[in-house]
Amino acid sequence: MNAPALLPERATDRQILTYYGLPAVKPSLWGGLVSGYIFIAGVGGSAQIIATAADFARDPRLAPVIRQGRYIALGAAILGAPLLIIDLHTPQRWYNMLRICRRTSPMSIGTWVLMSFGLSSFAVAALQYVSGRLRRPSRTMQTTMKLLEVPAALTGMAMSTYTGALLSATSTPLWAAAPCQIAALFGASAMASGTAALALAGQCRGASSEAGRALDRIAFLASAVEVVLMLSLRRRLYEKGVAEALGDRGSGLAYDFGAVMLGAGVPMLHHGRRILRPNRARRPSMMVSLAVLAGGFLLRHILLSAGNDSARRPNDYFRFAGGPRQ
């Protein structure tokens, strides 16, 4: 029992393949607030990861990186939650997010991830701050920090990538067509933004050059992975026939130049050059870090609005949902 082939098509009858061109699914109601949150969650999560990685490397010269990473992570957690609450259409019932845990809902998973990341980041940052004030930090404080930093990093990883799963676990054609690519891309972009944030923090607050070099290498790797993933995402969307939303002038150009070139391509080259000529030892340019951060936000925002736009195109959705290719 399968659906019959198309009725004999007539040139005049445009609505044969759609219902008067009306949308088949509904776009999400999310906008700048949500794309902002996704970006910030990424930065916070990866900042915590980098801080923890630096801590495990047990290189005293990385202390500022660790400290700044933890504060950035806490800042992100504190800033993220209100963004989400404001975006609710009945914000006074925000606490209902903690009413249940639904394994099938990335937003439910995300809520508990945000909770745990927030708490652990707060604890680590608090301990960090207190130990910073004491001349001789007690051993127990050190060990608890060491103990808490692992869950913080792990939840940081989740923070950076669950938002990808959140988008793809919908019926919006553009998001649903590339679940793995989007989540991976958000992860890579998060790391790039995280390192950029730390590089910026380093310049403002002062950091050792070794830390700078390590950050360069990480930034280069993250941006490279990001570029690769962006291009594979674009190809995947074409394969699935849902790239139209990203194809037309507006978001297509923004994606190609803004996110890909500005956000990842240029920084990758810049960090690459710095790695190849270590001796030039110039300080990593503020502009590049800002570009990465801007590119990171732009990437999320474009994917979000392009996704909403693709939901309004019935032909995109029908192609995604097993409809006839044409």
């Binding site: 606490y95 009413r99 249940i100």
Partner: protein
Amino acid sequence: MKLRHTIADRVAGFVRDWSLPRQLAGEDPTREAAQSTMSRQLRPRLEEADTIGTSICPYCAVGCAQLVYAKAGNVIHIEGDPRSPINEGTLCPKGAATFGWLTSPQRLTKVRYRAPYSESWEERPLGWAMDRIAYLVKRTRDETFVSNLPDGTPVNHTLAIGSLGGATLDNEENYLIKKLFGAGLGMVWIENQARV
């Protein structure tokens, strides 16, 4: 269910309907664990009705029967009567909108009067309007009543007053209209939508 406003209310409500503990205790998070107290105690509002009468749809001539649910003198819902062999509980879009018609925001509740040459409505009591209409009917009838034609044929009518209406009215209403206007006042211009 009172809308929860105060913080205490919110907290109490949250705790009462908190699904996590019930979920951990093994309840299905898609079903019982997620069900709120309001959903558990939900009842159809028809059960609040204190009077349930049978009516006939006021729209077309198929004559579908309707059940009218009323509470404290106000209609709360109207839907098809399953006992009628004509519609067996079903209703068409107009019949289903009967409740909407009775409670339409555009319904008149007061008598409106427009004086000759005036450019606006005025509100007037019902009794005053009835008296005024009776007076006008008598005046127009007395001025225009014809008992016999010039050739002596008895006609006993007035051609100056007309009445339109009845296809949407009950038999009892039509009967009194024809009885008073026809047999009583001698009007002949009595018509209704049967010819529209």
